[in-house]
Subunit: 362 residues, 4 copies
Amino acid sequence: MAQNELYYRDYLQLDRILSAQQPRSAAAGTPAHDELLFIIVHQVYELWFKLALYELDDIIERFAQPYVPEHEVATAVFRLERIRKILELAVAQFELLETMTPLDFLEFRDLLHPASGFQSLQFRLLELRLGLDEEERVLRSYAASLDERDRARIEQVRTQPTLFAVTEQWLERMPFLEVGQYRFWSEYRHAVHRMFERERAAILAHPALPEQEKQRKLEQVDSNAAAFEALFDAERYEELRRKRLRRLSYRATLAALFLMLYRDYPLLQLPFRFLDGLIRVDQQLSLWRYRHAIMVSRMIGSKVGTGGSSGYDYLLQTTIRQRVFADLAQLSSYLLPRSEIPPLPEQLQAQLRFAFELAGQG
Amino acid sequence: MAQNELYYRDYLQLDRILSAQQPRSAAAGTPAHDELLFIIVHQVYELWFKLALYELDDIIERFAQPYVPEHEVATAVFRLERIRKILELAVAQFELLETMTPLDFLEFRDLLHPASGFQSLQFRLLELRLGLDEEERVLRSYAASLDERDRARIEQVRTQPTLFAVTEQWLERMPFLEVGQYRFWSEYRHAVHRMFERERAAILAHPALPEQEKQRKLEQVDSNAAAFEALFDAERYEELRRKRLRRLSYRATLAALFLMLYRDYPLLQLPFRFLDGLIRVDQQLSLWRYRHAIMVSRMIGSKVGTGGSSGYDYLLQTTIRQRVFADLAQLSSYLLPRSEIPPLPEQLQAQLRFAFELAGQG
Amino acid sequence: MAQNELYYRDYLQLDRILSAQQPRSAAAGTPAHDELLFIIVHQVYELWFKLALYELDDIIERFAQPYVPEHEVATAVFRLERIRKILELAVAQFELLETMTPLDFLEFRDLLHPASGFQSLQFRLLELRLGLDEEERVLRSYAASLDERDRARIEQVRTQPTLFAVTEQWLERMPFLEVGQYRFWSEYRHAVHRMFERERAAILAHPALPEQEKQRKLEQVDSNAAAFEALFDAERYEELRRKRLRRLSYRATLAALFLMLYRDYPLLQLPFRFLDGLIRVDQQLSLWRYRHAIMVSRMIGSKVGTGGSSGYDYLLQTTIRQRVFADLAQLSSYLLPRSEIPPLPEQLQAQLRFAFELAGQG
Amino acid sequence: MAQNELYYRDYLQLDRILSAQQPRSAAAGTPAHDELLFIIVHQVYELWFKLALYELDDIIERFAQPYVPEHEVATAVFRLERIRKILELAVAQFELLETMTPLDFLEFRDLLHPASGFQSLQFRLLELRLGLDEEERVLRSYAASLDERDRARIEQVRTQPTLFAVTEQWLERMPFLEVGQYRFWSEYRHAVHRMFERERAAILAHPALPEQEKQRKLEQVDSNAAAFEALFDAERYEELRRKRLRRLSYRATLAALFLMLYRDYPLLQLPFRFLDGLIRVDQQLSLWRYRHAIMVSRMIGSKVGTGGSSGYDYLLQTTIRQRVFADLAQLSSYLLPRSEIPPLPEQLQAQLRFAFELAGQG
C-alpha cells in the first residue's frame, strides 16, 4: 500500500469509532461481560438515528419549497423507504440486545444511573422533525432530563419546519381538487350518497329478509353513512380538530383522499407512494416503540428505568398515542370501491398523464 | 419414476392444498387480483397455528406428568424455540399482506362479510392452551361469532390442562427451596435486607452530600425496598392475586425466582431456559397482536373489521392485556446482582451438578 | 352466527387445508415428532410458489401486449415487490425448518424415498416462466424425476412467453434511443471516450508521478476503456452472445442502459424501478437457492438427497449459474457518473415529463 | 440534571461517534447524498465485528483451558448464539445498503480508491480467530493491501489459539469414548454393519422384486456402506486429511459423532448445542459472504472492487471454500436412526446424568 493513499481505516475513522467503548463496570473494578454489547448496540442505534435524521432533513427541505417538482417526490419516496429500512433494522436489533439476560444486565445496571435512553437527543429530534404533536406527548417535561446543550438544540430545532407541516402545506397546494367546473368534494359526496342509497334500496327490496333484520341492516348503513359526514362539512371537521380527534387540515385531508382514490394516474402514482411511505414510517416507529416496551418489561420488570422513567407503562403509552400520521392511515375508512369512484373530467385526466402518452394519442 | 413410489405431490397432498383457493370476487363475477394473496396468507397462518398447537400440546403433555425428567425439559425448550420461530414468521408475514393497499382490499372486502379472522378456531385454541386468563379477555363473548362445531371444540379444550397450569405445578413441585436447614426465602430475604442496609449506610456516611439530597436518596431506597416486601409475605402476595395483579401461585413464584438466581448450576440451566422461553413466546405473541393491530389500522382505518369487531382498538387492548406469562417477566424486578446472591449450601450445590463432575472431584 | 353466512373456516377451506398432513412415520407405526413440521413447511412453500406464479403470470400477460401503458408498468413494479417479499419469507422459513436437527430428520427421512423437493412442479414452473436459460440448467434431465402429468404441464408451459422474453421485447420497442437526429449510443460512446481521454490527460499532466507509475495507471485506463467496447459494437456484442456470456439482445441492452442513465425523468422512473425489481427478484431467488444449499449441507451432510440428487453441490451450482437477469445487474459496469452523462435533446426531455408540468411551463 | 452525574451522551461517547463521518465527496466539493449511508453502514459493520471478536475471544479463552467446566460450555453456547445474531443483523443490513442504487454509488465511488472493505482488519481477525484454514484462502496475499500496523496485528493474532483448534483439543480430550471395556468406535461400527446387513437381507428376501432391481438396490447399499468406511479406519481417515478433504483430527471427529448420537443425555446436551452453534455460526458467515457477493454484483457489475479485488467472483469463491467447521456439518452423513444407535453401558449412562437424578433413583 502506497503512502498518502486513502485507507479503509482512515476513511471510516475506525480509530475513533472502535475506541469509544469504555465500560463503567471495568472502570469500577467489577467488569461485566455484557456491558460491551450494551454500549455497542446503543451506539449503533445512535448511528442509525443520525442517518434517519439526515434523510428526514433532506425530505423536509425539498417539500418546504413553494413548488415541489415531480422528480423530487420520487426522491422523497426513496428516502422514506430508507428510513423505514433503518427502523426495521432497529427493531431487529432488539433480538441481539435480548441475548443479554436480566441477571447479566443487573451486573452493571446501577453503575449507569442516572443516564438513560430517555436522554437520547437524536431520538427527540427525530420525533420533533417528524412533527410529533407536542400535546400528545406522554411526558411533556422530558427536556428536564437533558443537559443545557441538548435543551438548546431542541429549542433550535423546534423552530424548524416539520415533515408533518410541509406535507400538509404541499397537500393544501394540490391544484386538482378544483379544475374548471369540477369540484372533487362534491363529486365524491354524490358518489358516497349514491352508494349508500343503493345499499338501502337493496335491503328494502329484499324479498325474504324479516322486517327486524331489515331494520338492523338499515341502521348499519346509516351508521356507516354518518361516519362520512365529517368529510363533507368543513365546520364539522374543524370541530373534530378542536377536540384533537383530527390534526391534518380539512383541505389537506381532501387532497390526500383524492390522491388515494386516483393514484393510478401516472402523475399521482408517486405522490400516493409518498403518503403511503409516511404511514409506513409512522407505523414502523410505532412498532419500534412497542418492541422497546416489551424489551424493557423483560429486562427490568416493573422497576423504573435507569433514568427514573416509569419504564414499560410509559413506553406503552408513547406507542399508542405518539403517532404522527395517524390521520393519513385513518383515510382508508373513506375510500370507495373502484367501481364507485367517480370518473375525472377528460381535461383533468389529460393533465395527469405523460406528455409522451398524449403525443402518442394525437 | 417408477409406479407406486412415493411422489412429492402426493406426500404433501398438493392436489388438495393447491386447489383450496376459491376467491369470492371471481365467484361474484368481479375478480379482484389481490384476493388470492389474502386467501393464501390466511391459509398459511392457519398452517402455522396448527403446527404451533401441535408443539404446544407436546410440551403440555410432558409437563402434565407428576415427574418431568430433565431431558424432557430440554425437549420442551426446543419446542418453545420452534413456537417462537413460527410466531416470528407470522409477524414477518404481515409485510407480505401489506403489499396489498387498502383500495385493493376494498375490491373484495364486502364480499367476505361476516367472515372474520375473529373466527379463527385455532387461534382461540392457542390462547386457551397457553392458559390465557379468561378474566383478562377483552371480549369474553367471542364464542358467539363461532359456529356450533367450533364452540363445542372450544368447550372440550377448555377442560384440558394449560401450559400455564402445568408450568405452575411443575414449579410448585421443585424440591430445592427447602433442603435440610436451608430455606430459600429466608436466605433471599436476608440478602435483600443486607443490600438495602448497605445502600442506606453508604448514603448516610457520604461526606459531601447535602442533607436534602440524602433524604431524597433514602426515600428512593425505601421505595425500592418496599417493592420487595410482597415477595416475603405469602399473605400480602395472595392479596395481590385477589386483585388480579398477580396470577402465578406464591410457591411457584418463589421457585421461578430460585431458578433465575441460580441458573448457572447445570441442573438449573435448562429449567431456566424453559422459563425464559415462556416469556419470549408470550412476548412474541404480543408483538404479533400489535403488528396485527397496526395492519388493521392501515387497511381499514377506524371502520369495524369484516366480522363486526371494533378493529384496531380491540386488537390494541388484547395486545396490552392478554399476556399469559407476564408474572414471569415481572420477576426481573426481584433479581439481585450476582455479588449479592446468597451462596447455596454445599449439599444442595452437589445435587445440582453432574454425576460425572462429582466423580471427578472424588 | 346466522346460517348461510360466510364463515372463516369455509372461506379458507380449512377442513381441506388442515387435514392434508399425513405423516408417513405415523403410518409406518414409528411416529416421528418432527415430520409434521417438515410437511407443513413444505406445504407453505408450495402455497408461496402458487402465489408467486400467479403474480408472475399477471406481469407477463401485461408485458406480452404490443404496447404497455405506463400505469401497467407501475402495477408490474408492485407485483415484483410482492414476489420479492414472498421469496424473503421463503428464505426466513429455513430458520424454522432448521429447528429440526439432522438426527430428528433421520427418524423419518428414509420413509420419504424417493420423493424429493426436486419434484416440485411449481418451482420448475417458476424457473420456466421467469425465463431460466435451459442451456444453463445444471441438470437438464430434471423432468425424468417427474410423473407424466407434471411433465405434460412442463411441456405446455414451455411454449408460453417468459418474463425474460417479454421484458426483452418491451425494451427493444422503447422509442427513445433514436429521436430526430439524436442517437443514444453515439452520444453515450462519445461521453465514454471523453471521460477516458480526460483521465489519460490528467495522468500524463501529473507533475510528480514517476514514469513507471504513469504507465501503470494508463494501462488501467485502457483496460477499463476496453470493457466498454463491446457495448459500442453490435457485432462484437453478438459474439459474446454466441459464447453465452450475454443473453439479452443488443438493442434491449442499450434500452436498459438508457433507462438506468436517465431514470430521473418522470416517464422513466417506473420503468427503471421495473428493471431494478427484476434484478432484485433474481437476486432473492439466488439467495433462496444458497440458503437451501446450506440447509441441505447441515441436514444430510454429503449424502445424496432424498430424491437421489447430489445435494449440496448440485444446489450450489444452481445458485451460481441459474440466474435469469444477470445481464441487467451487469449493466452497472457501464454506468457513468451523473456529471458525465450526456444531456438529452430538449424535445426528448419534454416527452419524458408530465403533461401537467409542460402546461405549467407554458 | 445534576452536574457530575453520568449522562447518556457521555457514557456512549456520542460526541466522538457522531462526528466521525466525513464524506469525501463533500471534501471534494461534489457532495453525494448517499455517502453518509455508505459510511455509517460500514461503521456499524465494524462495531458488530468488534463485538463478535470480543465474544469469540471469550469463548476461545474458556476452551483453551486444560479442563472446561460444564457451566462454561453453557456460557459458550450463549456467546455463539450472540455471534450468530450479530451475523444475522449484518446480513439484514445489506438491504439498507441496497437502498443506494449503482448510479448513486458512482457519484463518490472513485473518490474512495484504493480504500476497500478488503482492508477491514477486524474481518480478517474474525476469520483468523475462527480458525480459517490458510490453505483454503482464495487470496493468500491479502495482507499486501494492509498497512504495516495492521499487518503487525495480523501476525500477532496468528500466533494465538483459534476456535477451531481449541474445539478440536476439547473434543480430543473427551473421556467417554473409552470407559472400562466399552469402545465407542467398535460399538458404532457394529451398529453400522448390522444396519446395512439388515438392509441387504431385506432386499434379498423380497418376494416380488425383479433380479435386476435387487442388484441395483444392493449396489446402492454397498455404496452407502462404503461412505462410512473412512470413519472406521484411522489410516484411511488420515489419508483424507492429507488430501485436505478433512481437517478435524480423527479422534475429535469420533468425539463429535459421539456427542451428536448421545446428545439426549443431560451432560451432553450443551456440548451438542455447542457443536451445533459452531455449524450455525459458520453457516451464517457463509450466508453473509454470499449476500455480500450478490450486493457487489448489483452495485458494480463485473468491474473490479474499489480496492482492486476482482469483486463478485472473488467473494463467491470465499463463500464456497472458506468454511471453518464444514467437517462438523459433514457428520450428519454418519448419524444413525435412533432405533439403530447402540445403547451405552449402564456405568457410562450414570455418569452422564445429574447427581440429583441418581440420588432420586437410590
